[in-house]
Subunit: 152 residues, 2 copies
């Protein structure tokens, strides 16, 4: 048993920074988008995945896996995206239960507009504050923290 019930001061500090900084950054980015009259970050995440998926689209459950959103959140988010004409829901040939979600032209355009603002936020909040080397270090270390649930 290497498990420790009480975290080290170093762990607590790193955790605290992670919590605080991530919340601040999300807030800043969200604020920037809102300021530009654009949809919230969550929409970007989904549009991004769908844009990468291309014409084939993605099934909702695939979006659930890739984005960390709960199933019911994806379900409702897609409903909103569809209502806004940013995505299309297509029936799926070999599975009567499912559907395939494909991003529309308007969806791509919205994503592009969002990226103009979101990307700038990333550049300012992160890119301008750490050197490329430091950024790589952060990425590598944070990478070691992935995949918490279910065994190593």
């Amino acid at each position: 048993m290497t498990e420790k019930a009480t975290p080290s001061p170093e762990a607590i500090m790193a955790w605290a920074r992670l919590m605080r900084v991530s919340r601040q950054m999300v807030e800043s980015a969200e604020e920037a988008l809102k300021g530009g009259g654009l949809p919230p970050l969550a929409w970007y995440d989904v549009l991004h995945e769908l844009a990468e998926a291309g014409e084939g689209g993605l099934r909702p459950f695939q979006l659930t896996e890739r984005t960390l959103f709960a199933q019911y959140n994806i379900s409702r988010l897609l409903a909103r995206l569809e209502a806004d004409g940013l995505v299309e829901k297509l029936p799926v040939a070999d599975d009567g239960r499912g559907q395939t979600i494909r991003i529309s032209a308007k969806g791509r355009e919205t994503r592009r507009q969002m990226w103009a603002v979101y990307g700038r936020s990333i550049a300012e909040l992160v890119g301008a504050r750490l050197s490329p080397d430091e950024l790589n270090t952060v990425s590598a270390l944070l990478g070691q923290l992935r995949h918490p649930p279910l065994g190593e």
Copy 2:
């Protein structure tokens, strides 16, 4: 103008990791607390600040500053904490508008129980995955990302 509208690949990667990892960790910790029949993380944050403040307590607006919660969220969170008997609201002598929030004995006890679970999560999610040196590096680098809004 050193401002860049488009973030570097390194910045994008670091951002993506930060977003993903922080969400996962919050989710894990939240799940652990729920599993233990304990209140959500937000309660801990407030109880923690109040416990550190001691008998003097804190004004709600001070909690707003320290926790990154919006003013109306603090207002409602405190109402719930009070309803659960975890904090007390005291009138403030020299400012008729305000109140002082003080943690109760029950509040301290709840905080302690939460820490048993929360601390274990931190130890497992962060402490067990990076060395003390690495943790310090993460803290230092994340520290450079603080305080995004309003001027350097």
